[in-house]
């Protein structure tokens, strides 16, 4: 059974279409990413899957249950870590977890055991009796992730899990998320606008822009759609014979020469370097320097949308859009 099945899902807010007919499935145990700029519709998608928003049209099922008809069954199967903290600051860490586990109907002994267990896992045991208002941003995030796990959900939604966290905490959370997915087998859907996060964590990534998916595949294959890696060779000496030889190789997709530097596009570039250097030597050219650049998801995003994700965020039109979204989400 698929952990998530989405078919033609649409959400409009007062005439503005936040999510526009998206369809996808997520397998059980998969770590699936929604990547896109702010206002792309990621959070709205998550909110619909988590039963917090009713879809305008289309259907979605989580853990086999329909998100509009079978809300309680969906709610029982999922854990959600929201983009903005959803903790009661006046309660202590442990009290927040107790509130949660009681809401999910977990018995007293089991409750205590699981709370201790997750606190240990996110290294907050010694802060358990402190009111959450006194926690740092990273601690709050960790507590929320811990909370999302106490009821052992089949599917865990993480909405921008590392937004606004420092690099070290981010790493920490990445490792933690990965461990959860690989060891505990929890299906995880995360949204992010950090390319490296999607690349590092996700089995598959859907690139989302203006409410639709512009691409959906594994990070590796998404990057491969760009035609592969770029190898730059700095050449010394007469390169004519070498270039002629290169022209006969069908695995070189593009080649461009700029003064002494030759740029070649190909798949699996790292495997081709020795071959290229050897060939150059045979043709009497010295390779002074080799540089291999792997395309990033940033390049993929650029390829599919014509803009970089940062340009997207900076343009005023986008900002309005995300403000409207923010309004709609409240």
């Amino acid at each position: 059974m698929d952990a998530i099945r989405v078919d033609g899902l649409v959400k409009t807010f007062e005439g503005f279409t936040a999510v526009d007919r998206i369809s996808f499935t997520v397998e059980e145990g998969e770590l699936f990413g929604l990547l896109g700029p702010n206002g792309a519709g990621k959070t709205t998608t998550i909110n619909m899957l988590a039963t917090l928003l009713r879809p305008t049209s289309g259907s979605a099922a989580v853990a086999g249950f329909d998100v509009t008809r079978d809300r309680d069954a969906v709610r029982k199967s999922i854990g959600v870590v929201f983009q903005e903290p959803a903790l009661d600051g006046r309660l202590t860490g442990r009290e927040n977890l107790e509130f949660h586990t009681m809401m999910y109907g977990i018995g007293k002994a089991e409750r205590r055991r699981r709370i201790d267990e997750v606190l240990e896992l996110v290294e907050l045991t010694d802060k358990a009796a402190t009111p959450v208002d006194k926690y740092s941003g990273g601690m709050k995030r960790r507590l929320e992730i811990a909370r999302g796990l106490t009821h052992r959900p089949k599917v865990l939604f993480l909405d921008e899990p590392t937004l606004g966290l420092d690099a070290q905490t981010r790493r920490h959370i990445w490792e933690y998320v990965r461990k959860l997915n690989k060891e505990a087998g929890v299906t995880i859907i995360l949204t992010t606008h950090y390319m490296e996060e999607a690349d590092f964590l996700c089995d598959r990534v859907a690139i989302m822009d203006h409410g639709t998916f512009v691409a959906l595949d594994t990070p590796v294959r998404l990057k491969d759609t760009l035609g592969g890696d770029v190898i730059s060779l700095e050449l010394e000496g007469d390169a004519a014979a070498f270039l002629e030889e290169l022209g006969r190789l069908d695995w070189i997709k593009r080649s461009k020469r700029h003064e002494d530097v030759l740029s070649l596009t190909m798949e699996k570039g790292e495997r081709r370097i020795p071959e290229l250097v050897m060939l150059a030597q045979q043709k009497g050219v010295t390779v002074a320097c080799v540089n291999l650049r792997k395309p990033s998801l940033e390049d993929v995003f650029l390829h599919f949308t014509g803009r970089t994700i940062r340009e997207q965020e900076a343009s005023p039109g986008e900002r309005n859009r995300s403000m409207m979204m923010g309004h709609g989400r409240r």
Binding site: N47, L52, F82, L87, D88, L91, H100, M103, G105, R330
Partner: protein, 255 residues
């Protein structure tokens, strides 16, 4: 729809923890009614109140009014605390839980009623210090019934507003243009008989009018309406408001 009693309990418990920890909030919210009691009670001490028999004096007239006012403010704030939870994000945590929406509403009503009743009883205690005298323990028991009904009514009203509002922006408007008029129209401070008929007509659609009048009837034995009418009206208001509050809360989306 099924009621999840554990969820009701845990929501109630959360409210209690928050209430106990927010000591400054308790003091702040009690200050105004205590000042009203003290200064109006002292200032109008020798004024005769029309229609009031017995030797209760103005404090006898005022104390039930101020108890009603305390309940009005604290219950409607409690009902609207949904908005605070929305503002601080905690509402999502509540809404995503696998419990029926009715349980969520009941939890809020339980928590809100308890805190309002505590506030109301504290003001009741303060009024005793200021010289308020009531007709024995049986009177107090009936008084508690009215206090409960007032709390239910305005928690329901608060829930309606909170479910219809997107954020805190409308909060001030609701307080100034709905809650305060409810207070002044109810005859909590001044006898209804002194209002011109047009204003009096408004008073008779104000639930607090019946609540305060009912409190006066049972606590000091004088009222402008028969106590049965007060009780029936309050039961009616409480049921309607709770029903509407639940209905609108259920319909509202979680984010």
């Amino acid at each position: 729809m099924r009621i999840h009693w554990t969820a009701v309990y845990v929501l109630w418990r959360r409210e209690m923890i928050r209430y106990v920890r927010a000591k400054s909030r308790i003091v702040g919210s009690l200050a105004m009614p205590v000042f009203f009691l003290a200064f109006l009670g002292l200032g109008f001490r020798r004024m005769p109140v029309p229609g009031m028999g017995g030797g209760a004096g103005y404090i006898g007239f005022l104390a039930p009014g101020i108890i009603g006012m305390t309940l009005l403010f604290s219950s409607s704030m409690q009902g609207m605390s949904v908005l605070w939870d929305k503002e601080f994000g905690f509402l999502k945590e509540i809404m995503v839980a696998p419990v029926s929406r009715v349980s969520l509403v009941l939890g809020r009503i339980a928590g809100g009623t308890t805190t309002s009743m505590i506030q109301g009883l504290l003001i009741f205690g303060a009024s005793l210090v200021m010289g308020f005298r009531f007709h024995g323990l049986a009177a107090l028991a009936f008084g508690l019934v009215f206090m409960l009904l007032i709390s239910f009514t305005f928690i329901g009203l608060g829930l309606i507003f909170a479910s219809r509002m997107k954020d805190m922006q409308g909060f001030g408007i609701v307080m100034n243009f709905i809650i305060f008029p409810f207070f002044f129209l109810s005859g909590a401070l001044t006898p209804l008989e002194n209002f011109p008929w047009a204003i009096r007509a408004l008073s008779y659609v104000d639930p607090l009018t019946y609540g305060v009048d009912g409190l006066r009837a049972v606590l000091i034995g004088t009222s402008s309406l028969p106590v049965v009418v007060d009780l029936a009206a309050m039961i009616g208001f409480a049921l309607v408001m709770l029903f509407l509050g639940t209905y609108f809360f259920e319909k509202s989306e979680g984010v």
